[in-house]
Structures are given as C-alpha cells and as structure tokens.
Assembly symmetry: C3
Homo-oligomer: 365 residues x 3
C-alpha cells in the first residue's frame, strides 16, 4: 500500500530525449512516459485499451503514440484519435493518463486523485536548475521496499558502521558529533549535525589536497514519502563555520528520491552536487563514483533485510533513540494512508478510473 | 482451463528417433513420449507409479520403458510387467496412457476422454505428407497463454504494424486489401484476403528476382483451440489469379499449431512450405529464417501483453470490427469448455483416471 | 513441517575458521554461526533485534558479534551488551540462540525446545574423530525435500539402476545379493547386505589393482530424521569375511547427514572414509570424486521427482516390498511430528520464544 496523493519522481528528464517511449512501473502500475514534439511530457497507462499491448512498444507520432500491435493512435490525453481503416471511433477508446511535470531536470508524476494534483507542491530540488551546482544524475534499482531505504537515510548512525571508508564514519561517530534537536515538520523532519575538528571524509580527500582538520556539517531534510535532501560541507577547523563563515569551505547538495516500483522494489534517483569551478568534471566524476561506492555498501544490507522481514511479518522491531527520525517518517506515512483510505468514495481512484472507463466501454460497445 | 476433448500437436515425429524418451508438458500434465521398436508411438504420464520418478529419465527397452530409479518396467499400455526380484506384480501398478497418433510428420495427442478419441478427426496438415511441398519443421516456446497467440493470428491487421519489413505489411494494409466475408465454421473460421497490384513481400523478394507488381492472396483457416492454416501466394499483377490462373504464381502453405504447455506458456509447432524446385534447399532455408524473424517480431509483444493482462484480470478489453475472427475463436473455446464441464460425471477425466488407479491400488496393496 | 526436537548437522566445523560469520538457513530459519575467541561455537538467529538486519553481515569481536548496520553488540547468549552512544540497554534487546555443539568435526544444532537438548544424544560419527579413518568433508545442496533423499538411501535397490558404473550396481543386484532381515530400531533401522563372489565396485577398482572376485558387505544404519551410516568393504572371495576374517579386506565408512533447509531444499553433509595407509591422499581424492559422481547420478532424479510430486499432492504412491526401510523412516518421522504437536502448550517453541521476546519488548520499550 502506497501513499498516492503526492508527487513522485518518475525519472530524469533526459530519459525522454529523441522520442523515447519509456515504460516504467511506479506504485505497481505500468506507465508509459514520452515527450511530444511540443515538448510536453505525457504519462499514460502502458496498456492499449484494445487488447492490452504495451504502448511503450509502440511509436511516437508527433504528440501522439501509436500502438504498434493493431495501430490505434492515442493523443496525449489518452483519447484514441485513429482506428486504422475505420472512420468512427467509439468514445470509450481511452487510456488513462496521469498528471506529470518536468521540474529541476526530473519527471514528477501524481499517482492519486488528479483533482488534487497541484504543481506548486512538487518537492523539486532547485539546485538542479542552478548552473553553479553540478553533478551526474544517478539511478539505482533496489530489491527492497522504499521504507527500508527511508529508514536507512533517516538514521545517520549507520554511517559509523556501514561507511567508515567512504562517507567517513567512525565507531566514535555517535559520541563525537553534536546535533540540533530533530525538528518535526508536517511532511518530514529536519536536523543538523556538527562534527568539529575531524578528518576530511574519504570521498572528499580524493580531490581536496592540503586541507587539515575540518569542521563538518550536515543539514538533512526528509520529506515523506521518500525524499532525502542534504546540504553539507567542510570548513577549515576553527574557522567559525558555525557562525556562518564560509571562507575556505567546500559545500555539497544531495538529493535521494525513492519511488516505489512494487511492494518490494524501489527506484532510487539520486544526485550529489558540488560547486567547485576548478577541475569541475574531474570532481563531478570522482564524487559520483564515491557516492555510488557508498550506496553499494548500503544495498546488500537493505536487500537482505527486506528478505528477512518479508519472511516473518510478525517480527517486532526494537526501537532506539536514534530511530526518532525514521519513526516520525513512518508515522507520517501511516497517517497519510489512513487519510487517503478514509476519503469519501471508499475506493481508490484507480478503481474509480477503471470503473469509469469500463462503463463507457459498455455504452460505446 | 483448457479444452480437452480434441487433438493437440505434441511434437514433431522426428523428435522420437533413436530411442529418445521425450518428456514434455502438455496442458499442465507432464507426459512421456517414445517410439517402440514396433514403430508405434506411446504417450504416458511421465511419472512412475512407484515413487513418482520421471519415466523420461528411464530407459527404452523394445516397446517398453523402464523406470531407472528402482527398475519397474512398463509396457506401452502403461502396465507394469516387471518388478525387479519379484514374481507377483500388483494389478494396480499402472501408469495412465493417452491416445496418440503420428500423422503428417507430427505427433498428435488426445488429452480428454479416451473413449471420444477419434483418429479421423485429427486436424492434420496433409501438405506435410506431399513430397512437392518442402519446408523446415519449426518450434518456438512462448511465455504466454495460447489464446493470445490465437488472437494474434486471427487478426491480420497486425501485419500492417508488426511486420512491415518481413511479411510486407504497410500502414495502408487495411485500406488497400479486400477480403471475403469471414466464414464462421463450427470449429473455426475461414477468410480470404486479396491485395492487388502490390509489392512482393520482403520475405519473398529475397529469392524471387525480377517479379514486378503482384496480386497477393491469403486464405486463412483457423480451427479451435489453436490451429492456423494458411494458403497464400503471389501472381504477376493482372494475370487473373482471382479467376484461377496460376501461371507464374508462387505459392506457400503454412501451419501454426499452438499447444498449451501451462496457463501462461505455449508450444508453437510451425512450418512454412514452398513448392519451388529450383534452388530448393536455399529457398527452404531462406523462408525458415524469414518466418522466424517475423515470429520474433510478435513474440515480445505477446509475452509482454501476457504479463500486462495477468497482472489485472479485471481489465476490460475493447472490441474492434477486426476482432471478429478472434472473438469467434474465443466464443467457440468457451462453448466447448462449458460443454466439457457439463458432461455427466461432473469431474474431468483426469480425476476419474486417478480415482480408478487409486482404488485399484487399495485393492491391490 | 519438520521434526524439531533432535540434533541436525548445521555444517562442518572448519567452516567457522578465521572469524567467519556463517549465515545458513536450517528448517526454514536463518541462523548465524560463529566461533568466538574462546573457541566455543554460537548459533543465533541471523536477525538483529533492532531493524532486522542480517547479523551474518556483521563483525566478530572476541566472543561477540556486532551488527554492522547501527552497531549493536551481542554476546554469545544473544544479549545486547552495547548500544552505541548509550549507557542503558533495554533488557528486551536480545536475539534468540540455539543449543549448538561441535562433535566429530561437525556442527550440530538443536532446533526444538532447548530444555530437551541433551548433548549425549548427538548422533555423531565417531570415525571422523579417529585418525586412522580419512576422507574429504563433502557438501551438496539439493532442490528437494529431505525425505526424498532419505527414501533414496533407504532403498538400496536403486543402486542397480542408478549407479551401475560408479557404486557397482547391476540389473541382477536384487537377485544376486542376500540381506539380513531389516532390524527396526526406535529411531531408524539397520540392515546388512552381502554380495558374494562379485566384481570389485568401479569406484574401488580405480585404486585397488590385482584383486579378483570379492565378497562385498554393506551394513546400513539409518536414523531419523535424516542420517545414513554405512560400514562396508570388500574381501577376497571365499576368504571367510562372513565369519569375521578381515585379512586382505578393504573397508569404508560413510556418513550422509540430510538437514532440511526449506520444505523443498536440503543440505547434504557427507564424507566417505577409508583407512588405507599407502597412497593415502590419492585414495582420498579418488574416493571423493567417485562418490560425488554417484551423488550426481541421484540428484537429477530426486530433484525432478520433487517437482513432479509437488505439482500433484493428491498422487498416491505405490508400495513395494523394498520400501520397507523408507516406510519405517517415514512412519517414525510422522510419529515424532505427532508427538511434538501434542506437547502441552499447543504451539511450537518458536512461537513461545518469539512471544517471550515480544512481551519483554513491551515491558522494556
Ligand atoms: S492492442 Fe493496441 S491496437 Fe490492438
Ligand atoms: S520410482 Fe520408478 S521404480 Fe521406483
Ligand atoms: S539493525 Fe542491527 S543495529 Fe540496527
């Protein structure tokens, strides 16, 4: 069960170049994405209304997509506008579409009630639109429920044990760093962590030479259901970064957007941005490789955890104080799920949408 | 659920040469096929009555098959005729057999009530027995229900979109060709399509040089549950082929026999015959490769369609006029299924057969 | 469903060298095995009580294991003894452990009620502790229920058909050999087979030259749920081995321990020992290779049998006199299962254990 009335990242905008028909499963629904010749992006059910063939195996024609099984042509609203060899088109020949937007180089989709889709609530990541911040767009596929990935990011203590040689954890991480009280938000939380007079993280050492001890900060904001935002950096130790002195500091911006594919698999769209101007490409590539290395440290733990937990749904997890962030995230999701289920018609919008299409079919058949 | 009281193609006769024990799943039942030294073909359950070992891992001995786990020997009627080291053989030691015939180089099996198995109703494909028609026997395994494959063949309009560069479809195919009214048969349908003054199909162009515009005909007959017969050809345009003038024409005969393996997988036995005498082997091989190329154009569409439809059994398909053939085929199958279910003893012959064996076992044990 | 109140082989002792954390599924439960610095072996649930991460992905620290997700440290009793950055440890922070012993170079685990675990009842295989008996420890993974493997070993007649060129079966095996009446034991059976004046078995011929006709004996003892013990040998024919004359005889000792992994997969721990002193290593390796060859003759039969039987649970097997051993083994297992289910609290010890941990959690949370 997934939260539906919210925006999810469905892909990177560049995945739709050159007339690509992108078929991707989001929240257990197969969806076709494409960009028409008017540059607008379309998301529709990846299933022809005729015999159920995948439209992603079809052909882009201007702003329309043709099913390449028997040739039905659908416009960007999902309406059939051509039946080969026929003049009349039954009004029931329709494929459901989804609200979809491109913002900050990402494709955003709304899987819930279309009437509630409000562009202004797209989480976004404005650094991706700012030329001074650069980084390689990343993607990983996890064989795990997205909430295990949210759990992972919501508890930084795992850095001490999982990432000592990449992100620079150490067994003393918990004792050595200080942090602001976790700020509970309506849709997530925010927390800042300080690590004063410590070593430069391994992934930064690769391209920053001659920096001694540093003061490190991480400002995390998480937004439900699956967004992780990080603003972080390193300043020469004692330079007064905590009072805002950015001189000699090096900064990063990181997004990790977790979009459920199925109940036990997840799309991770991620990027790690820097604003260095010298050796820019080199640093971009180095960062990308380092972060990927770190993600690959998490992945086997999370994927095995998924198997272990799936096998025994009755298993009771034990809570620790450091779970405060993830518990808040899970509570928010649970609240939202309850709210969506309570919404009047007592059935999800999918059913409603299907019922609508079905009754049209009967009328039109 | 499958139609049972009918003949299915179980394999090519040549698959049983040299004492091969062929284990193949047909309609969800594992079956052993072999040819005894008297050249008669046997089909029996591929499961020893002792501890259930696969008889297809056994050994052919004359007309009998020995289970190579503990050595029981079964004759071609499935009766145990030897228990190693014992004189007495319990009468319950039996393995069910199935009516089976070789005809037109194909193995035909009857999965339903043996009392109803009538050799004279074997669909056959007599061109395979006629020396002037030549072609390579083909086989493909589809990860899809057989009815999606029947649907595919019953609606030729897909040729326009799926096979433009192989079988010679074109977006104008629907408009350009004419066809006879579809003739509904008790067990299928028949239709002839004419495409006058068109180009030679790509798969023919490869070996026929110097033929200009042609008149093309396709006479399709489909028989339920899963047979497709095609008689087709190309004649110099305007030569009067529609009045029967075969001068200068080139003809083909095609069989596609679809036999369910499981609910979501299918055996396709196919052959494409020609009657050219010059360059015969070359043409045979060229045809075989071209048709395979065409089948591989259908396969990914059908296999993905299978996944899409299996995921959402409530999805309502929309009908088009061109579905008349496939709808008739599906209706015939549904009628036959209803009929078979209504048959007196209210249980299928498998159950009856098993019950019989089981009660013998009790008596004999 | 498995017998739980008994010892199972969980691995070879040498699998735990050098601080290895061995994660292995036994009776459907994921278990972590390790050897602490005090050389004692530990078996605990391979699931951290915090968020369910696999402890086998953790780190051995002395006699303790640390979960390398967020750093909880557990001692060999499964009690959490360190929470990073915290002083107080909730008493509910525990991971269940299992009675485990090393004996005869094997790791033995008790999956049932710990109160009933009695070391003196470990089946063992004392030849493994005797320096004059040598052989390579073996392991195979079967995709089949363990009972099909027990069936296989409990009926030696299969040697005639499955192993003619390895273990020296022959179609006349049943007629040619004699055997003691099968001795039913409380926990298994015992039987001795004699094969007088026969050929040396192929696997022995490889390294014993110049021995003519032999008298062969096999003394089998099976113990439920899944132990097979064999004492066997070959003596020059007519030398009087049946009266105890061991002069010129060559002897072997074989263990096959079958431990369920899941309902349809099994761990096989096996070893074939000899006591030859000349060419010892050569003979060891030759034996190992030959026996493996024989096991690979059984494996495809058993794994396909598993599929066939799993597909049709209603299938009734037919009994033969040679099934007396396997029927006794299955009856013993069925009796023991009934007994375990009838035990007072009407729920298995797993549930009890989990409930205990769960209620502690509530108290401690
Ligand atoms: S399935 Fe799309 S046109 Fe037929
Ligand atoms: S299973 Fe066939 S003889 Fe035993
Ligand atoms: S899951 Fe083991 S310490 Fe968190």
């Amino acid at each position: 069960m997934f939260v539906k009335n919210c925006w999810y990242v469905a892909g990177w905008a560049h995945e739709l170049i050159d007339g690509a028909l992108l078929g991707r499963t989001i929240l257990n629904e197969r969806i076709l994405f494409y960009k028409g010749e008017n540059d607008s992006v379309v998301a529709m059910e990846d299933r022809c209304c005729h015999r159920g063939a995948a439209l992603s195996l079809g052909r882009l024609e201007g702003n329309n997509v043709r099913c390449m099984y028997h040739g039905l042509l659908f416009n960007s609203a999902g309406t059939c506008i051509e039946v080969p060899g026929r003049d009349a088109i039954p009004p029931s020949f329709k494929v459901p579409t989804y609200p979809v937007e491109v913002q900050d180089k990402l494709i955003w989709i709304w899987m819930g009630d279309p009437a509630l889709a409000d562009k202004t609530t797209i989480p976004g990541f404005h650094y991706l639109s700012q030329p001074e911040w650069v980084g390689e767009p990343g993607y990983l596929h996890y064989q795990a429920n997205y909430q295990l990935m949210v759990d992972n990011l919501a508890d930084f203590n795992h850095v001490a044990y999982v990432h000592p040689t990449t992100f620079g954890g150490s067994p003393n991480y918990v004792a050595e760093h200080t942090e602001s009280p976790l700020e509970r938000l309506d849709n997530g939380f925010k927390v800042t962590k300080w690590h004063m007079n410590c070593d430069l993280a391994p992934f930064v050492k690769k391209f920053v030479k001659g920096m001694g001890k540093v003061d490190r900060w991480n400002t995390v904001r998480m937004q439900m259901p699956g967004y992780f935002y990080l603003e972080s950096g390193f300043s020469p130790a004692g330079n007064g970064i905590e009072k805002g002195n950015m001189e000699g500091a090096i900064s990063f911006r990181n997004l990790q957007a977790m979009t459920p594919e199925t109940e036990d698999s997840t799309h991770l769209f991620w990027v790690y941005l820097h604003n260095q101007t010298e050796n820019q490409d080199l640093i971009t590539r180095s960062l990308s490789a380092s972060i990927l290395e770190g993600l690959y440290e998490d992945m086997p733990i999370i994927e095995l955890q998924q198997k272990i937990l799936a096998k025994d749904p009755g298993f009771t997890l034990k809570s620790m104080p450091s779970d405060v962030g993830l518990n808040h995230m899970r509570w928010l999701v649970a609240q939202q799920l309850k709210k969506e289920q309570a919404q009047a018609p007592q059935r999800d919008k999918d059913q409603a949408r299907k019922d609508m299409v079905r009754s049209e079919a009967m009328a039109g058949a």
